[in-house]
């Protein structure tokens, strides 16, 4: 129970910080909406739905990157990560709290983005939406770990996309596959497997990322 209580305390702290600072979520919302609007006018009107789904994933991945690039900023200010690392809680709780908070921000951005996509381009069925949700989990699970690694670097803005984008490719394949394939469930299964494997890897390795 204490692990759950630590994760809850850490995630709710992130939500509180964001509600006050408003550094991340408004930027994510503006970015994803403006990207979809630009695509709407940049593409010919007879663009096929399949191509449009690809563009949705471009918007999702880069919106997630925007959120991830800000994820550890509150911990970098005033060196708070040191205090969290020294606290006697399991260090993976720090990662899980951050992952949950980032996931909530991304979901909030998609509450706006998905209806906008359906309005501008093509409708999304339940399988496509499930694909987006599973991919969100995957991006946040891997991204929170990689963002913590990048945060320790001077070139973090450059390093984060270099680390996250290659690992997001399977998620994009799974997400687009779930939306356009006749056998979308197989792609959902693939996304769920990706989430499970990378959740375990990130959970187990976070301690080594934040300690020397």
């Amino acid at each position: 129970m204490s692990y759950v209580s630590d994760v809850t305390a850490l995630a709710s702290k992130d939500l509180k910080v964001e509600l006050r600072a408003r550094d991340t979520l408004p930027a994510m919302l503006l970015f994803v909406l403006s990207t979809l609007v630009v695509f709407r006018f940049a593409l010919p009107s007879d663009t096929q739905d399949d191509a449009a789904y690809g563009l949705l994933w471009v918007a999702i991945v880069f919106t997630a990157l925007l959120g991830l690039s800000r994820a550890w900023v509150p911990e970098q200010e005033h060196g708070v990560l040191d205090a969290l690392v020294l606290a006697p809680c399991d260090r993976s709780a720090i990662w899980l709290g951050k992952t949950l908070a980032t996931l909530l921000f991304l979901l909030a951005a998609q509450v706006v983005a998905l209806p906008a996509f359906a309005l501008f381009f093509a409708p999304l069925d339940a399988t496509a939406i499930a694909g987006v949700l599973l991919a969100d989990i995957g991006i946040c699970v891997v991204g929170s770990l990689l963002a913590a690694m990048a945060a320790a670097s001077r070139a973090r803005e450059l390093l984060l996309p270099l680390l996250v984008l290659p690992l997001s490719i399977p998620l994009v394949i799974g997400g687009v596959g779930a939306a356009v394939s006749a056998d979308g469930e197989r792609f959902l299964l693939f996304l769920a497997l990706y989430d499970a494997v990378f959740a375990v890897l990130s959970w187990a390795s976070f301690e080594y990322v934040v300690t020397e």
Partner: protein, 194 residues
């Protein structure tokens, strides 16, 4: 409590610390002095377990739940209030009767009136007082304090003096300072870094 032998730390090519050895008995107070850039902060981070030495051997007789660390930086969230910051760390450290302890510390360090204001509105000295509250929040056996008097005004420094005097003998203290005379009366050992 602490046994350090031939500690060396390198960042890049040059060593920041070279051949540093010392012992601190349980309940003792080690005062570390030295000019800027002599590696005091690095040594404090090594003792706290945040940084691993490049060479040498360090034994610290407590785990991190019994260690209080005051850094150069306050290690508190700017967008949270004093109460919210202390409540978060109180929960992570499983501080018993957390609210009472937080209230007592905030009152003692003169932050009670501003307890519900965000840290981003605090002066440097007020933030340092809050950092001290965070460090003293849980029952630590070892206190590692990196320049605890920095940014404090006379009233704040006097407050900290009283607090440290209360802790002397009951806790093991390792602290850095540019003003060793201030802590002379309870210093049990000294380490001068070049």
């Amino acid at each position: 409590m602490i046994r350090a032998r031939a500690i060396e730390k390198r960042f890049g090519r040059g060593p920041v610390l070279r051949d540093v050895s010392f012992d601190v008995e349980r309940g003792g107070t080690l005062v570390v002095t030295g000019p800027n850039g002599s590696g005091k902060t690095t040594l404090m981070r090594i003792v706290a377990g945040l940084v691993a030495p490049s060479r040498g051997n360090l034994e610290v007789g407590v785990d991190r739940s019994k260690l209080g660390f005051l850094s150069h930086e306050p290690l508190v969230y700017r967008e949270l209030t004093a109460v919210e910051n202390l409540d978060l760390f109180g929960r992570l450290y499983r501080v018993p009767e957390r609210r009472e302890r937080i209230g007592m510390l905030l009152e003692r360090f003169g932050l009670w009136e501003v307890r519900n204001e965000r840290v981003s509105t605090y002066s440097r000295g007020m933030t340092q007082r809050l950092a001290l509250c965070r460090t003293l929040l849980h029952e630590s056996e070892l206190l590692v304090l990196d320049e605890p008097f920095s940014a404090l005004d006379e009233a704040g420094a006097a407050l900290l003096d009283r607090e440290l005097e209360e802790l002397v003998g009951k806790r093991t203290l390792v602290l850095t300072t540019h003003d060793p005379a201030r802590v002379e009366r309870y210093t049990t050992s000294k380490l001068a870094l070049a």
